[in-house]
Amino acid sequence: MQDVLLDVQNLVVHFRVYGGYLKVLDGVTLQVRRQERVGLVGETGCGKTTTMKTIMGILPKPPGVVRGGRILFKGRDVLSMRPQELEHLRRSGISMIFQDPTAALNPVFTVGEQLEDAIRYALGRRDHASVREVALSALQSVALPDPPRILESYPVQLSGGMRQRVCIALALAYPKELLIADEPGTSLDVTIQDQILRLIHRLAEERKMAVILISHSLGVIREWTERVYVMYAGTIVEEAKTGELFARPLHPYTGALMRCVPKLTGTGIAEGIPGRIPDYFDPPAGCRFHPRCPHCMDICRQRKPQLFPVDENHRVACFLFGRNSRG
């Protein structure tokens, strides 16, 4: 496909821990086209953030280890990039809004220091005045009041909502082609979360960016994305156009997700599904969902199902569907 921007194939990522490895990502596959808004949904701990950090080359190593797979951005292999190429990729290609704005801002530098550094190195500008100008307009574009004062502030002096906006300004201070938004606004109340999502949507439209939106909330995914990946325990279990997925969820996990009504606050989509996400130290063989699956068959315990197209816009990794059982 010509317009594929990001192509992730069979990504395997482990974390080294005392006495062995956490086998977290077990063959993650996903694509993003230019200007597309893609959703990624799955319960807490399923590896969403890990996947995104690996894509940006910022997985902490140690303990992270990339064991296999390929990440192509505009056809170029991210995993084998040299440090300068990676820096270039992050300056003009991909950007990320981190899940927890408080943790993503350096506590001992002012917002201005962090924002101006990002701009200075990305644009290669040395003169302070023009860098500051870009910084101020970045803060304006995320609708922050009184940008000059915000530049002087330390993160502790800002409210949660303001920190979230600062993080967006940091991620989008200069043009990018793909924005990864990791549960933006989850830590804030619902109205502010909605404003944040609107803001991201508007910026993506204006700048013709593709977006990967990560969320626990099916409501958010349904409202803001065109295509969805459902993730379970480090694997993609289903992929479809958003409307199609909500009309016809195929994977037993997706069905369970939809049946349990998401709460307004909190992260509790797992509450309605019996069982817990598996232990990554010793994950279940075969399909990782099988211990919790009401339709579990013999083959599910032995072999790992691959993503299989049930029609043009819908793929599912489950032995209940079609010829998947053979291959």
């Binding site: 902490p60 820096e87 962090q114």
Partner: protein, 341 residues
């Protein structure tokens, strides 16, 4: 920044701590068995002479009255007279304190510079041979008392490899610079006496090194741990994600938050150096306040004991306030919480 109010509060608090310290030391110095007046005058002095001295020192009055007299003269800058040298104690302190301060300053410098350097190296090359060598050295350095290091260094340099002198602050035959601050390096610098400067630096090297090793490796370990911990934090990943070059991520965004715990511990280590320098001063024949302090304690020179402890208390307090200021400068969270924001 409303530093001045913070500083004022710290100072007020310190005055209370120092007053408390003075009460405790004052009482302990007088509870030590034996009559200081008799000890000072010797066994052959007449009973009348001893009584006269006791009266002069107010030792015949209740202890709180003695304390009151003492406090009043301290506020007039008078710490009393040494029972031995028969000189005002304050003169002894003026003579011996600068030598120790200079020694401690250099030891502190070693701790800060090499502690941070080794810590950063250790974190940067974590779990490689570089890190392993530094960690083994650190265990040795922390476990070996300063005086043992001093003895080894004296043997090594004093006897086999005579590049660094091992006795005193200046070589015989080198004229000392005029006394301005009492710190030989500073005085010789101010008076442009380069020969004395180099000689004083050479004399400082070994004692400062032996005094600093324990703290130095402590700083290295803390720096390493804190850098490795912060390296996993999102703000470091975020700095990379925003396209900031790796060297800036490490040297700025990782380094600054990581050295805050090191600086706090460095302050404590530095302050305790001054009191703990006794054996090192003895071994290097260093005319410092630690050595003086032990001598006056052995002689029950009560006025001098109290004065030395109080001076060390003041130094400790001042260093701690300075360290708090540096930490507050590095860490806006502390600074801003102090202001109640």
């Amino acid at each position: 920044m409303n530093f001045s109010r913070y500083l004022l509060r710290r100072l007020g608090y310190s005055v209370f701590v120092l007053l408390g310290l003075s009460v405790v030391v004052f009482i302990i110095a007088r509870l030590v068995p034996g009559d200081p007046a008799r000890a000072a005058l010797g066994p052959r002095a007449t009973q009348e002479a001893v009584e006269a001295l006791r009266a002069k020192l107010h030792l015949d009055k209740p202890i709180y009255v003695q304390y009151f007299f003492w406090l009043r003269s301290v506020f007039q800058g008078d710490f009393g007279e040494s029972l031995y040298t028969r000189r005002p104690v304050i003169e002894d302190i003026r003579e011996f304190l600068p030598a120790t301060l200079e020694l401690a300053l250099f030891a502190g410098l070693f701790m800060a510079v090499f502690g941070l350097l080794l810590g950063v190296l250790s974190a940067r090359y974590a779990n490689t041979w570089v890190d392993n060598v530094i960690r083994v050295l650190a265990y040795l350095g922390i476990a070996t008392p300063a005086f043992v290091v001093a003895i080894i260094l004296i043997l090594l340099f004093g006897m086999y490899y005579e590049v660094f002198p091992t006795i005193g602050r200046l070589s015989p035959g080198i004229s000392a610079p005029p006394r301005l601050t009492g710190l030989l390096t500073l005085d010789s610098l101010l008076s442009g006496n380069w020969i004395a400067l180099v000689d004083a630096l050479k004399h400082l090297f070994l004692p400062a090194l032996s005094l600093s090793l324990g703290g130095l490796f402590q700083e290295a370990r803390i720096t390493r741990a804190s850098m490795l911990e912060n390296a996993r934090r999102d703000f470091v990943a975020a700095a990379r994600a925003y396209g900031i070059p790796e060297r800036v991520v490490i040297a700025k965004y990782l380094f600054k938050p990581s050295i805050i715990p090191t600086v706090s511990i460095l302050g404590l280590d530095f302050a305790s150096l001054i009191g703990n320098a006794f054996l090192v001063e003895l071994l290097f024949n260093w005319p410092g306040i630690s050595r003086y302090g032990i001598n006056v304690m052995l002689r029950k020179d009560i006025e001098a004991i109290v004065a030395v402890v109080m001076v060390l208390g003041v130094v400790f307090t001042v260093v701690n306030i300075l360290v708090d200021l540096v930490v507050a400068y590095l860490d806006p969270r502390i600074r801003l919480v102090e202001r109640g924001e």
